[in-house]
Symmetry: C2
DNA sequence: TTGTTTTATTAAACCTGTTTAAGTTTTTTG
DNA sequence: CAAAAAACTTAAACAGGTTTAATAAAACAA
């Protein structure tokens, strides 16, 4: 159940929060049940909400000039996903957000976030930690993109997140790592010898 | 003066903060005066502090396998710079942080940050906003890295931050954008015709 | 369970950006 | 101000990864 999942998650960041306060906090969220391939956020539409994944897997992507799909982020259980620049500016999203698997997510609108922070200031600390951690990860991601060849990126990722490599289609993984599915086939072929 | 600069900056994020509270907050920081090319944070040394630039320009970089320098981030007035992953884990920094120009920065150690947040919880909001904004920018950066060719990246950057292109050496800019100084020369040559 | 759609593989031709190495210009320093 | 160091330019050979197009395998729906 998504309320219980959110409670356990928030508790990891704010250990002394009570069940009853999270009950209150939960009312600011809206639960969404998504079918596989269902789209939550369309490109060029207003970005209203941040999405928290309770179950399943989502990804954000845009369509490149040549018509192919570029995945920018994945989110699995207990991760947030959003076009944060568009969210902050309440502007049109550059990205589409789609369920990779059948998923359950909690949606938090801009207005709800503002109200939530006003009425539960302890959540400032929660989000400070979430964004700090996310920014640190994004920084490392840029570092890896510069530091490693495409082949190294794949092996690095595959050894750190083996379950994840099983979980998503390879063409999405290739896209996320910044190369073509054809090249991923080649990498795998070469690695067998 | 760095105290006044910090006050004005924090006020942009927390409008109702008083001068006297910022006086208190300021005591958690240490002012550093850096000569051009001086190194604040060495690679493979413990990352103890986040750095806030009051005046000047810093960059973070690492040395690639082929011996050349890879700049990951720049910070000018009112920006923070740090290897956040190393800072959070109090582990060894992957990055060197160096002054590009003679600079004045405020250093905030991990212990000081913790104490600051404990005694001035209003700063949770400040840092939540800072990290949210930084993460949004980092996300867009990854998007641009995927979306644009090297040449497009340069023109995009040059048109958005013309003063900055003047301010830093071109080989650092090329490195930041993910290509070689030789290729930047070529881009500029081709654009003249 | 069969037909249809989606995902993965293979290989050759190609292209964007790198490497190397030399020369030129600009900036810094004594 | 002169000398040295740092930054920038040029061009040719090269490499990492893409594109295209065709085939094969797997997943899905009727």
């Amino acid at each position: 159940m998504s309320k219980e999942f959110l409670f356990k998650h928030i508790q990891k960041f704010i250990p002394f929060i009570s069940q009853s306060e999270v009950e209150q906090i939960y009312t600011y969220f809206t639960e969404l049940n998504l079918k596989k391939k269902e789209i939550v956020q369309h490109e060029e539409e207003l970005c209203r909400s941040m999405l928290f994944v309770c179950k399943g897997c989502l990804h954000s992507y845009y369509i490149k000039d040549n018509g192919s799909l570029q995945t920018l982020d994945f989110a699995i259980e207990s991760w947030w996903i959003c076009d944060y620049m568009a969210f902050e500016n309440s502007s049109l999203s550059d990205l589409t957000i789609q369920a990779v698997e059948t998923s359950i997510v909690l949606s938090l609108s801009r207005e709800s976030l503002d109200a939530l922070l006003q009425h539960h200031p302890v959540m400032e600390q929660y989000f400070r930690r979430i964004f700090q951690r996310s920014y640190a990860a994004a920084q490392k991601r840029v570092q890896f993109l510069y530091q490693y060849s495409r082949e190294e990126l794949y092996f690095h990722f595959a050894s750190h997140y083996p379950e994840f490599v099983q979980r998503v289609p390879q063409y999405l993984l290739a896209s996320y790592l910044g190369f073509t599915p054809e090249y991923l086939s080649e990498i795998k072929k070469n690695s067998l010898r």
